[in-house]
Symmetry: C2
């Protein structure tokens, strides 16, 4: 789907905990052909007409063939493993404080990921599927999203986003991002995500076979490369279940028509907005979101009614020691003026968990 | 505000009906200086640093000074009166049918309008105010928006949007748009809007003084230029009040945090989504929106709860004769397979009218 849905059912926890049983062990095959050949091989059958002549685009030139090629400032890096694209933040993508909303950031992460996979030759329908996946009606769905924003870009700011994907154990794939402010070169954010494979017809998660793995591994860095290389970083941290009663809640949220994607399911960025709905207004007024982690556990349909619950996270549950790299503003002790929350999105009808989340907020700087 | 709010109170109808009493007659001044001088004169004091050296941008070059200048494919036309910009439709801006949503179209109209007024030197805060307006705490607010889409662009399609503004009687201003598919040059949409001036502190509408008028008229075409030049076209047609009981309704809509703009009011594009909420599902499944007209009558605040009501419009109320120009697909008789609706958005609490609308839908082509 063009708006990627977040369709992970409760099966995911079984999958993670029982992966030995469910997944056959797969090994990265060593194939005696060059990187270039590897990249070209799976492209042929699935390249779109628009992109057949421009899998490597050059920024600041008009070398492409379609109007989008001439306008898009995106390109695959020389190593063939990561993709960078520049975006101007549009007027309608900023909110209070005149800066991009977290939904805008999440949307841009999705856009650059879609353009990356389309650029290297996966399906152009937004599902980012390989040839084998399409044959078997398999799609990628989000299992976890973790975003850290150190400085929010403003209207007309240009953001360069780099992204790459890699294998995530035997479960699925991982996609990472680094966001830079083009005017200064400063790293303004990082993100990572986990993806699993789902059968589009049965809506059940499915193991990643060797065949599918071989199709995407050629586009992944041969050595692991992590946007959050710090040990014990918060992107990895388990999110505990929020206990009833929650401190703050917004009940009865309904999907709007624009929240639904091609697959008629609620788009994963909508969940971020729903989490924000139950953040206390005083936090919205005085703080800005620094970190958000979401575990996607269940699909949400058009007629579902959703409750958003939030509770402050007590300090001893918070990651207390982070060492900064990659431009991160994390520090060795918990910063003053921060607020931490746990979140749950659940079906109003039966309390089934759709989404579990954690957010960290920092005091807004005075402007 | 960066997301332009739609803050027109019930005063607007008094203003329109009593304009002789409320407005002093103003005349376009004839000033014996060249167009270039006229354009430069009011710029000096209010240009932002970013745009001081690039009020005329050239597409497909890297002549600008900021990263946004180098990436933005927008430019003021040679006559100084209209502004064109190209946009790639992003993956997160398309919905069902893989084409841009009407909200995306409305957002892009807003973006190109903001970039136009910023380019010629109005305020860069999204309010598009002149120097005098800022001194007096006046802002522009939407009174009417009329959009016709003949063909929806898809993900990665490039749309070129031309926009210009002009005086609208003695009431306020009018802004028009023409949308083209860059790949074919085909006109794929047209739009027009009416804007009135509101005092930001009192929230009351205010007459346009000679001083303000002089500040913006230099950027308006000297002869009227209309996106809908057809006589008796539907952009002008009064929208009757929808009678209770409505055929279709979606009650209890709540603004989300992301719906609020810098001014803490619901953004005008949100109203479009709310109108769509009460369209019957069978129409959403089988038709696509062809025309939408919205009269903005009242501000909506964060805590307001809104009801969206829809009723089919009977044929004899529908504009029955339109002659096509500018690439319009309108025809001399009401087309088969069309559906027409009247809409109202109102406060749940007291029934006060926020917004009155009309939509026309055409059968989706089979894909």
């Amino acid at each position: 789907m063009l708006k990627l849905s977040c369709n992970v059912t409760d099966h995911i926890h079984n999958l993670f905990s029982n992966s030995r049983r469910i997944f056959v062990p797969v090994h990265r095959q060593t194939r005696p052909i060059s990187c270039f050949q590897l990249k070209k091989e799976p492209l042929r059958a699935i390249l779109s007409a628009d992109h057949g002549n421009s899998s490597v685009r050059v920024a600041d030139t008009v070398s492409g063939t379609s109007p989008a090629d001439r306008l898009r400032f995106g390109r695959l890096m020389e190593d063939g493993f990561s993709y960078k694209e520049k975006f101007i933040v549009r007027s309608y993508e900023v909110g209070i404080n005149k800066t991009a909303t977290i939904e805008t950031i999440a949307n841009l992460l999705q856009e650059v990921a879609c353009n990356h996979v389309q650029n290297v030759g996966f399906s152009t329908d937004g599902f980012a599927t390989t040839l084998t996946m399409r044959k078997l009606h398999l799609i990628w769905v989000t299992a976890r999203m973790h975003i850290e924003i150190y400085k929010y870009p403003a209207w007309s700011d240009v953001v360069e986003i780099e992204t790459w994907c890699q294998s995530e154990g035997r479960i699925g794939t991982r996609r990472d991002w680094i966001l830079k402010d083009c005017a200064t070169g400063e790293v303004i954010g990082r993100a990572t995500s986990k993806w699993v494979m789902m059968n589009q017809d049965t809506r059940r998660l499915q193991r990643v076979t060797d065949e599918v793995r071989d199709e995407y591994l050629v586009f992944c860095p041969p050595e692991p490369r992590l946007a959050f290389p710090e040990e014990n970083n918060s992107s990895l941290k388990k999110i505990p279940k929020l206990e009833d009663p929650a401190q703050y809640s917004m009940l009865g949220l309904k999907p709007r028509r624009a929240d639904l994607d091609m697959n008629q399911h609620v788009n994963n960025v909508t969940y971020i907005g729903w989490v924000l709905e139950s953040i206390p207004q005083e936090i919205i007024d005085t703080h800005e979101l620094k970190v958000i982690t979401l575990d996607y556990r269940r699909e949400c349909q058009q007629d579902d009614i959703v409750d958003s619950l939030t509770t402050s996270e007590t300090p001893n549950e918070v990651v207390s020691k982070l060492t900064g790299t990659n431009g991160s503003t994390t520090s060795s002790k918990r910063e003053h003026n921060e607020s931490h929350f746990l979140h749950i999105l659940r079906l109003s009808e039966n309390g089934q968990e759709i989404n579990r989340g954690r957010t960290q907020w920092r005091k807004k700087s005075s402007r």
